[in-house]
Symmetry: C2
Subunit: 220 residues, 2 copies
């Protein structure tokens, strides 16, 4: 039997996240914590966003994965810096991991950092990383009942992206019903319906992102 | 600061899981721990399986969800007994929760218990519940890279169901590549490609299930 001193782990993480926040604020970097189920299309969405905006803004990416670096490699062409965090089986990123990733990034040349969290709709929502805001990504084939079934994330997200809208004709996804439930859970969230694959609806999301980055930029 | 005595939590869970296993063995009940991402189609697959086999076998269902009982209600018509476990935010079922659920079930009249775990591709794989075997469900729109990215579950699963095959024409899913990677991770797993929605491929999965239930049945 081991005896350990258990302090408030979530509290320790939050404090560390606030430290990250202060640090990122000094550089005026918009930081987005992107959370979804496995396979909701976070990496493809990121590729599309960065491809469209990389000539205007410098992107950094912190890529959370259990083991592989496949997703990070997909993003190298579009970002100024990509740091891979392999959690070795841990189901979420925490603020300490992000702090270490930030040490390796050229912060004074970045405008936006996107943190692609481990694919998991439950655990990552509980760990504040120092982000400006959370972006929840829900994909159409997962089903329109997911916000009600996994409310923590959808309550906290500043924006919800409903991705893979190109699959709407082939699934039972109830788009008005889903948006209605999202509004009940989180009346403030901005909701975008997009297909990262076809580009449908992405323009509005890019507009939101540009507006956000201007708001945190130190030169404004 | 709280001081707690931390024993080996995974070890304690495994011991409790073995207790469940012994208990279920006495009744000759095939018990399947079904694990997937949110929205991979576990509940729909369960409906299809039970609808096809409910006249031959008596099903019990243990339904794990963070908060809601939506899925459990969908299954009431087809099962002899459905027990809902709301984990209240906890990202997986554990053996203690299952032990309590079993107390409420008419075990001497059941042939098969299916445990539908919380939708999460990471955490549930680490918690043995006393199941005869794990069934991993991967849905086509999640992408063919998921077994390599989330290997714990796919290593442990006795069977892998690739669901939503009706969406193959509308996605980039690389079916031969996915099966090849699955075979590398887990050469023993039986793999079924199905669409719970259209019924395609379900027959083979039902055959496997019938063969398994005969193997554990006390009367054989």
């Amino acid at each position: 039997m081991k005896v350990i001193l258990a302090t408030d782990l979530i509290g320790v993480n939050t404090a560390k996240g606030e430290h990250n926040r202060d640090f990122l604020d000094k550089y005026g970097i918009l930081t987005i914590n992107m959370i979804s189920s496995p396979g909701a299309g976070k990496t493809t969405l990121l590729e599309v966003i960065m491809k469209a905006l990389k000539d205007k803004y410098n992107f950094g990416v912190i890529e959370g994965d259990l083991y592989t670096s496949r997703d990070a490699r997909r993003l190298l062409d579009h970002a100024r810096a990509v740091v891979q965090i392999n959690t070795c089986g841990i189901c979420h990123l925490n603020a300490e991991m992000v702090a270490r990733a930030l040490e390796g990034m050229p912060l004074d040349s970045l405008d936006i950092i996107i943190i692609e969290n481990v694919g998991n709709l439950v655990c990552p929502a509980a760990f504040y990383l120092g982000e400006t805001c959370k972006m929840a990504v829900l994909s159409v084939p997962e089903g329109s009942d997911k916000p009600a079934k996994y409310p923590e994330l959808f309550k906290e997200a500043r924006t919800v992206v409903i991705n893979k809208s190109d699959l709407l004709p082939y699934t039972d996804f109830d788009l008005p019903g889903c948006i209605k439930e999202l509004r009940e859970i989180n009346p403030e969230a901005e909701i975008f319906v997009v297909s990262a694959r076809t580009g449908e609806g992405v323009e509005n999301l890019l507009g939101w992102l540009e507006e956000r980055v201007k708001r945190v930029s130190p030169v404004d």
